[in-house]
Amino acid sequence: MQAEEKFTEMTWPASPEKATLEAKNKFLGFWFFLGGETVLFGSLFATYLALKDKVPDSSHPLAKDLFEMPLTFLATMFLLVSSLTSVYAMYHMKNYSFQRMQAWLLITVFLGACFLGLEVYEFRNYVHEGHTFTSSAFGSAFYALVGFHGGHVAFGLLWILSLMLRNAGRGLNLYNAPKFYVASLYWHFIDVVWVFIFTVVYLMGMVG
């Protein structure tokens, strides 16, 4: 099968993300990349756990003083639902319905942007309470871990948006199908990392 070939709904292969050799390589290579990313976040988690609540003096706020359930819960919901909508998008990609895929991707991007907006708002609050990147080792480790994740979300938004814009005029083919698929894999990965951040940083932070 050629990457440039034109398809109809009938001739579209069952797994377009793995239909060509280039696509297979991309698919596998991205899984490996996510393996490396896991070590990256693992190292950041380890750093955070080692430096949690390590502050220069008692006036500095600790995890239990800072984190609040309603805000983080809402952010978590935004991101989890965006992962679901990206699954819908990939469902339509596999069925060769380009417009529906674009629509679900747009919803995914919107939810991701909401998450990012809440995160910025949350960070702003913490800064007002005296919990900044430079105020303590706890602050550095917190913003490094959660900020790295936020940076990944921002990059993912730009990535999915540029894919949508670039291919808006020409629809699906075997050249861009694996690109969409890999972007959605990345988005799931970000979501999984957030599940761990929610547990390790926020839930464990609130119970002390």
């Binding site: 596998l28 490996f32 990349f33 080792a137 602050g139 670039r166």
Partner: protein, 622 residues
């Protein structure tokens, strides 16, 4: 196609190499860049030995000595050994598995240029206020308060070249999984391909830890972070853990491909199938796995407590088992073989006792209680030079001679090669053997000078003389390279006459599409099997058809160059230089725009048509 035979101008050749995505040309780039950094690191080593040749020497000052020492280690590990290994991986692995290129040719080129610009950036420190001076391990307790920008060059330079290595590793993993020729099952892959596979996996899971460590250090030094600042609640031990979680697998990243190269050489020149092939594969994977379990043996004296020390000590000793399996397999490969003592075989035979000596001192160091005595002494210096020079560097020199004909189509002189070998081997043992005893007599590592009459004077002089033997050996090898290339005597497909794997079944150097028709692999050592049945070449697995090839691209250079520029901005932003921020933005802009161009511009590659391939055949015959 006639373009191959065309004579190109100098400019066209340079442009060709700047834009190439061909793994064989990238191999040559890695070999040249890694070779130049190897010479730089070697020069630094000679300066160290000149300074230490006699007590109370003042050849260099204490501060400059620290810079030379740091740069020697950093250059040799990151900028010489790693890229030279990547050179042979690029040159041999796609050919050994019967592929036309790697899985991601563009990423392959990008990996090289990131490494290259990272290395150049690191070495710019010499001219911009002093090189890093906190040792190649760059412990946070030293680096946090370092006054010069040296350490910042270390952080940013290694960050850039580290990304290059990481994507190079992913590329080889996918290549080996997806691009194997028909019949090339996992258990038929040559050992060098297997070790490259395991090494790539180690790169993938080890380098992100270094990335994070370098980020944290960068935040602390340049952006007001407090990860390692004890007064703000930080902890410097975090750096040590992150560094060694990367750093220990790193030594296996270096040594496994060396094992792979020697496995090829032993089998080829014993003219015998590698003994215990499956146990070799198993041992390689096991070493890779255990390599992640032992990082804290670098930190026995930190104070982790007896339980942690005991666990890491036992895990470390366990690695001796798979390594011992390998040593015996190599010995048994030679046993009963019809051995041909070529230059690569000289290195291979010398490697066994040298590396075993390094392994034995490794076990001594692994005994945590005893390590309190060895720690930070010349005993440790002797140990790791025995494994790295006696293992990795001997393999790289052997590989240079072994694969030179396949990479360049000419044969290095065997006479000069053997002179290089003997000078290097004698110099190596002269330099480092005595250092075991210097260490046991109490000489500490990293000191820039020492007082006379402590029993160290003669030992240090002997060690310095040995270093010059190695220096002369390398110069003779360079002469060998120049003489060989000037003579330019071309060789055939299988210049050693005893090639076993697929790379020896195609011309030297191979055409840019490697295999006109993908070969059918019928067992381990596929080319040997065909030769034993009286055939000249491989049986094709497919009819002659169009070949799909990737397009050349200049973007890898611009992406890497952008990061190189941005790094200067980040580095000097600490000094409140007004130009620092714009430089950073411009640099990142170059990188991001290049990445965007790469994303939005479709790159379908091109096809070499069947007719052109047929014409080429006729052209050769006519």
């Amino acid at each position: 196609m006639s373009t191959i035979a065309q004579k190109k101008g100098f400019g066209a050749t340079v442009w060709d190499y700047l834009t190439t995505v061909d793994h064989k040309k990238i191999a040559i780039l890695y070999l040249m860049a890694g070779g130049i950094f190897f010479l730089a690191g070697g020069l630094e080593a000679l300066f160290i030995r000149i300074q230490l040749a006699v007590p109370n020497n003042d050849f260099v000052s204490a501060g400059l000595y620290n810079q030379i020492l740091t740069m020697h280690g950093t250059t040799m590990i990151f900028l010489a050994a790693m890229p030279l290994i990547f050179a042979f991986m690029n040159a041999a692995v796609p050919l050994q598995i019967g592929a036309r290129d790697v899985a991601f040719p563009f990423v392959n080129a990008l990996g090289f240029w990131l490494f290259f610009f990272g290395g150049i950036f690191l070495n710019c420190s010499w001219f911009l206020g002093g090189a890093p001076d906190a040792g190649w391990t760059s412990y946070a307790s030293l680096t946090l308060n370092a006054k010069s920008h040296g350490v910042d060059f270390y952080i940013l330079g290694l960050q850039i070249s580290g990304i290059g290595t990481l994507i190079g590793g992913i590329n080889f993993l996918v290549t080996i999984v997806n691009m194997r020729a028909p019949g090339m099952t996992y258990m038929r892959m040559p050992l060098f391909t297997w070790s490259s596979f395991v090494t790539s996996a180690l790169i993938l899971f080890a380098f992100p830890a270094l990335t994070v460590g370098l980020f944290l250090l960068m935040f602390d030094r340049m952006f007001g972070g407090n990860f390692f600042d004890v007064s703000a609640g930080g902890n410097t031990i975090i750096w040590e853990h992150l560094f060694w979680i990367f750093g220990h697998p790193e030594v296996y990243i270096l040594i496994l491909p060396a094992f792979g190269l020697f496995s090829e050489i032993f089998a080829t020149f014993s003219r015998k199938r590698l003994f215990g092939y499956s146990s070799m594969v198993f041992a390689t994977v096991l070493i890779g796995f255990l390599g992640f379990m032992v990082w804290a043996h670098h930190m026995f004296t930190v104070g982790m407590g007896p339980i942690a020390n005991a666990i890491f000590a036992v895990a470390t000793m366990a690695i001796a088992v798979p390594t011992g399996i390998k040593i015996f397999n190599w010995l048994f490969t030679m046993w009963g073989g019809s051995i041909k003592f070529t230059t690569p075989m000289h290195y291979a035979v010398a490697f066994i006792p040298s590396f075993v000596a390094g392994g034995v001192t490794g076990i001594m160091n692994a005994v945590a209680a005893a390590d309190y005595q060895y720690h930070d002494s010349y005993f440790v210096v002797a140990h790791f030079h025995y494994v790295i020079v006696g293992g990795v560097v001997l393999a790289l020199l052997a590989g240079t001679h072994y694969y030179w004909p396949k990479m360049f189509g000419t044969m290095l002189s065997e006479v000069l090669g053997k002179i290089t070998f003997w000078l290097f081997l004698i110099g190596f043992h002269l330099t480092f053997f005595i250092q075991h005893f210097l260490g046991l007599m109490g000489m500490p590592r990293r000191v820039f000078t020492y007082l006379p009459n402590q029993g160290w004077d003669t030992g240090n002089m002997v060690s310095s003389i040995g270093a010059f033997f190695m220096g002369i050996a390398v110069i003779i090898m360079l002469i060998n390279v120049v003489v060989t290339q000037v003579k330019g005597v071309k060789v055939g497909n299988d210049p050693w006459g005893d090639g076993r794997s697929l790379e020896w079944s195609i011309p030297s150097p191979p055409p840019f599409y490697n295999f006109k028709q993908l070969p059918l692999v019928r067992g381990l050592d596929p080319f040997w099997i065909e030769k034993m049945e009286g055939k000249k070449g491989m049986t094709p697995a497919e009819p002659l058809g169009d070949i799909h090839m990737p397009n050349a691209s200049f973007l890898p250079v611009t992406i890497s160059f952008g990061l190189f520029v941005a790094a200067f901005g980040i580095l000097f932003h600490v000094d409140d230089k007004p130009w620092a921020l714009p430089v950073m933005i411009i640099g990142l802009g170059i990188t991001l725009v290049s990445m965007l161009i790469r994303s939005v511009k479709d790159d379908h590659g091109f096809h070499i048509h069947k007719e052109d391939l047929e014409n080429e055949d006729k052209g050769v015959k006519a």
